[in-house]
Symmetry: C2
């Protein structure tokens, strides 16, 4: 295992210490239990948006905390759900009474722990809490980690749009409805060229031959749809977008966002090359890409590969996407 780390048991703690140093203007980090909140939290009168999940997917979610996106994020250990106490404390740190919206990727551990935290916050704390589950991954109908589809890179689209709407003073019920609507209009699928290596395991999560790729891989290295021979960027984009568009069934000429997301070990050069392949294919299928996001945002440790996400936009969601955001990972 080749990683820039010290002891494997300290990876998340030391990473968060780095975040504290690098981004003290944007966020505060609480340790034991671990959570990240906006530097100016709590923002009075604003519905609080909170997310979280296992570490190893950086910059998701801590890198999305800040003006116009998340109020708080709860990082678990690597590929391990955060615990309810982290979530309850994060809610306490960001909610001033307008309620908390939890954005949760559909994995069994995350769903269970966020549900428990929501109950605790409602019953003991008297908080208003609602949840949006993301399940944008079309690769498999269920997986080793989830009942139903997995939540992957589309989660950041939900977080950005809901975060912008929360800044415009929308209430908890409206934000919940909006988040669910964005999730329903968003689909993703990924491909791995290499496995990731979990620090505590010390060896690759799965084996992949020198000329093989895993189509539809999950962000923890879960099996996808198909092991296949390595193909060209164009052929890979065709396969991923074929599955996405078939599932999304957009109307002709529909407007969308294209997110080309690196999985952690893939350089930007290859991601831009995938942007080119993907936009040509989407245009050929009658979709109108009006917004792009390119970079490594929802990663799987050091995995080489990428995911493609298509999110159908309308005037309202496009305007919310375009609204200013200032976080460590997204800024415009």
């Amino acid at each position: 295992m080749k990683k820039l780390i010290n002891r494997v048991e300290d990876v998340v703690k030391e990473e968060l210490e780095g975040v504290v140093a690098a981004h003290s203007d944007l966020v505060r980090v609480h340790f034991a239990p671990n959570y990240v909140v906006r530097a100016d939290a709590p923002v009075s009168g604003k519905t609080a948006i909170i997310s979280g999940g296992g570490s190893g997917h950086e910059p998701m979610h801590g890198g999305f905390v800040g003006m116009g996106m998340l109020d708080g994020a709860c990082p678990g250990e690597v590929f391990t759900s955060p615990t309810p106490d982290q979530m309850v404390e994060a809610m306490d740190a960001v909610d001033t009474g307008a309620g908390c919206l939890l954005i949760v990727k559909n994995y069994e551990g995350d769903v269970m722990n966020f549900e428990m935290a929501a109950e605790m916050a409602q019953e003991a704390g008297g908080r208003q809490v609602a949840t949006v589950l993301t399940d944008d991954d079309v690769a498999v109908p269920r997986s080793t980690w989830s009942t139903g589809r997995r939540g992957v890179a589309g989660t950041l689209v939900v977080e950005k749009i809901v975060g912008a709407a929360a800044k415009q003073s929308l209430g908890l019920a409206e934000l919940t409805a909006l988040g669910r609507q964005v999730n329903v209009r968003t689909r993703s699928m990924g491909v791995a060229l290499t496995s990731c290596t979990v620090p505590a395991a010390g060896k690759p999560t799965f084996e992949l031959g020198v000329d093989e790729m895993e189509l539809g891989v999950g962000i923890h290295g879960e099996p996808g749809r198909k092991r296949a021979r390595l193909a060209t960027a164009d052929a890979i984009a065709e396969t991923l977008l074929g599955a996405i568009v078939a599932d999304l069934a957009p109307t002709a000429g529909a407007e969308c966002l294209l997110l080309v997301n690196g999985l952690g070990g893939t350089p930007l050069m290859e991601l831009y090359l995938m942007v080119n392949a993907a936009q040509r294919i989407l245009a050929g299928r009658g979709l109108q890409v009006t917004r792009y996001l390119t970079g490594s945002f929802v990663t799987s440790l050091d995995m080489a590969g990428c995911s493609l996400t298509v999110s159908l936009f309308d005037e309202r969601t496009r305007a919310l996407w375009d609204a200013p955001v200032k976080t460590a990972a997204l800024c415009w």
Copy 2:
């Protein structure tokens, strides 16, 4: 070779097509010869800042084109200098008579071609042209690619600060002096955990054992100071910063920027962990880190590893660093 590409001869062209699609609000791209300019170029009355170099280091330099940083960037083929005709045409596209400052990393091919372009633009075009050479890499006094030290990640610090000063209407002579001053106050050193693989070569540039690292590696995979056994993040940071600080010889309590830069195949989690290690070590050596930048900005294709850069700041350079910037890769 596992890469998201089509034909190796089309990598740069197809990547730039992706940039066109993704960033039409920020930049325009010209093909054959290839160069990237600000969407609003030329900016009347402003001294134009131009950089360039081989592709494979993305987002450098095209990702730094935009408000508050570069006016133009010339990407060569992978790890190959751009040609004088690219540079001359880029100068024609951005200079409105206030002159062009060329920021050039110290590699023989880049230096020669930018010199030739400067002569052509001065003699045939009647342009005012000046050059700042960057040579921030302390690893080796000369290398297979350079006479003297190599220019690496510190180049982006020069580009950001000079770009901000150009926006404040400084003239060519002042910008040249400022760029040289920032370069002199900036030092870097990197480490590779894996080799990169050049698409046209199809195999790793160098061999590295499973428990080995290359200390002081160059951004084209050039040999560094020492092949060593893989060490902890703390020990690596100590080695890199030891070399940097010894060479920089800062006064006690000096203020600096710390740039932790990923080389293309290294996930953000590890970079934040390095931020933590580096800031502790710099504090122990009496340096005051007041600004941080963390991410993969000056890469070496898919190489795993990172570089650390320390740039001494004063009130003026800190303010120029903090000045607004809006490019694909840097935004605040």
